[in-house]
């Protein structure tokens, strides 16, 4: 399915209309590390079904921003609502239930290199492992690999995979928990243009198949063009600009335009 992903050339639906279904909302969100004020005042709404791209220079806190959503980073101040629930007020169980709906693709893939591809995919399911019959587990794993075009790699170890394959496996491992919101941390960084395009198309395919909402952090303008319905530019801890690709490309601010060159 993805072998010929380059020729499919899916396009993000640029005519996507916000349907008023907000899945994530940030209000005056702040986060500092010591005296390094990474996020100063983030106000952001993410709508159901959209593909939001977040641009920004290295070190502006893009990763920190999405790590707040999955709870890897704790916010200092402000509100973070997921499906209308204020994360900092949730009790343990509810928090886990809410955050389970969010999948995270790490920049490095974060593959477990001591495990095989199969074990990597089974790991997120460990808690349910006793209740899933063996054949069903096998088919879940196979389907996840098929979704990302890695059918052959099931018994390999991560060290035997190429950069693009590692990203695919990371994606498969995230998808196996059937998230409703996908956060991609620089999914195409470090990949060649062709593989980058394949990954961008994969993001769109995943979105179609599983009906996910996606947040994509990237420097890759081609990936942004292919995938994003809406773009936010992060600068010095605040959202400096927001708009569609076409709007920002013609922005009056040369700094913002510089991303699109």
């Amino acid at each position: 399915m993805t072998q010929n992903a380059t020729d499919i050339d899916l396009k993000a639906e640029t005519d996507y209309k916000p349907n008023g279904n907000v899945v994530i909302k940030m209000e005056h969100l702040k986060k500092s590390f010591g005296n390094n004020h990474v996020l100063r005042d983030i106000n952001l709404v993410i709508n159901k079904g959209e593909n939001l791209a977040i641009l920004g220079q290295s070190g502006t806190g893009k990763s920190v921003l999405i790590k707040c959503i999955v709870g890897l980073v704790e916010i200092d101040d402000g509100k973070l609502l997921i499906y209308g629930k204020n994360i900092s007020e949730l009790k343990d169980k509810e928090l886990i239930e809410t955050q389970k709906k969010v999948g995270f693709l790490f920049q490095s893939g974060a593959l477990y290199d001591s495990m095989t591809v199969r074990e990597n995919l089974e790991f997120p399911l460990r808690k349910q492992l006793s209740s899933i019959p063996k054949e069903e587990l096998e088919s879940i794993v196979k389907e996840a690999l098929h979704d990302v075009g890695l059918d052959e790699a099931i018994d390999k170890t991560p060290s035997e995979l190429s950069g693009g394959m590692r990203k695919r496996l990371g994606l498969a491992r995230t998808l196996i928990l059937k998230p409703e919101i996908m956060l991609y941390d620089e999914p195409t960084t470090g990949l060649d243009p062709i593989t980058s395009k394949e990954i961008s198309n994969l993001i769109l395919e995943v979105q179609k198949k599983y009906n996910t909402t996606s947040v994509i952090i990237t420097h890759d303008i081609e990936c942004t063009r292919l995938t994003a319905n809406r773009i936010i530019v992060l600068k010095e801890g605040v959202c400096a600009a927001e708009g569609t690709f076409a709007e920002l490309e013609k922005s009056a601010d040369p700094w913002i335009r510089s991303f699109f060159e």
Partner: protein, 280 residues
């Protein structure tokens, strides 16, 4: 409940590290401050271990796997060092004992030294070097490559899976390794005795068992649990909270060995005091 608390602890520790590293001009880089912050965060880490170790579900498979890697895989190294120590100690002690005309005490003297002190301490130091550095480097590289974060995000408690299992394995495998090393060391001693002289195995070992008391063996084995626990605790702590950079891996492995070995000596010193108080 536990999960939220543990996350707070986690990020608290991170912040402590950042304050120390990134803003030396704001917080004076005092050694005492650094030391107490480190002790505080190690204490929190230890408490978290005890909380998570009793809370189900238990990671039995990973525990078994780690025990195999930590225990079984260390056998050859421990055997070689144990044998050599027993052999060398015997050869070295013979002239001194001969001077006092008490060469016949050689097996008993060597056995007491090996079982009381040299077996446990040397094995623990070897263990700190092999297992401590291994755990430190492994967890640190998992941290750098965000594997620990990935476990957390997929709702699998990485502390339980990675830290608890390794500390438990280290705690229970080291005593077994020490007993094994003691045995091999005595065999080395038997060889050493027979280089110059002719003592039958029966005579050698019966002399040893006559001279050994329960009071020699018991405290020596008990303290090795503490050695193993300390080595595992420090290695996992250093790995789990390593700096997020490739240099963090080397640092974590290094300080796991250095601090682990230091802890072995400190515990040994405490153990000798405690035993002498209890035996009086």
């Amino acid at each position: 409940m536990a999960k939220i608390v543990s996350q707070q602890v986690y990020s608290e520790n991170k912040q402590v590290e950042v304050i120390m590293e990134e803003s030396p001009e704001i917080v004076p880089d005092s050694i005492f401050k650094k030391f107490f912050l480190e002790v505080a965060s190690l204490t929190i880490f230890t408490l978290r271990f005890f909380k998570e170790v009793i809370k189900p579900p238990y990671e039995i498979n990973e525990l078994m796997k780690q025990s195999f890697l930590i225990g079984y895989k260390s056998l050859p190294l421990v055997a070689i060092t144990g044998f050599i120590i027993g052999l060398v100690l015997t050869i070295q002690s013979r002239p001194t004992l001969a001077k006092f005309g008490s060469e016949s005490l050689l097996p008993a003297m060597v056995a007491v030294s090996i079982i009381r002190e040299i077996g446990p301490v040397i094995t623990a130091l070897i263990f700190a070097g092999k297992v401590g550095s291994g755990i430190g480097a492994e967890l640190a590289s998992m941290n750098v490559t965000e594997q620990i974060d990935a476990m957390q995000v997929s709702d699998n408690n990485p502390f339980k899976y990675l830290v608890v299992t390794r500390i438990l394995s280290a705690t229970f495998m080291l005593p077994l390794l020490v007993i094994f090393a003691d045995g091999v060391g005595l065999m080395g001693s038997f060889v050493g005795v027979n280089i110059k002289g002719n003592v039958s195995a029966y005579l050698f070992f019966s002399q040893i068992f006559q001279s050994l008391e329960f009071g020699d063996l018991f405290p020596a084995v008990i303290k090795t649990f503490f050695f193993g626990f300390a080595i595992g605790l420090i290695a996992t702590y250093k790995g789990y909270y390593s700096n997020k950079g490739t240099e963090g891996v080397g640092k974590a492995a290094n300080s796991a060995v250095v601090l682990g070995s230091l802890m072995v000596f400190i515990i040994d010193m405490i153990a000798v005091q405690v035993t002498s108080v209890l035996q009086n």
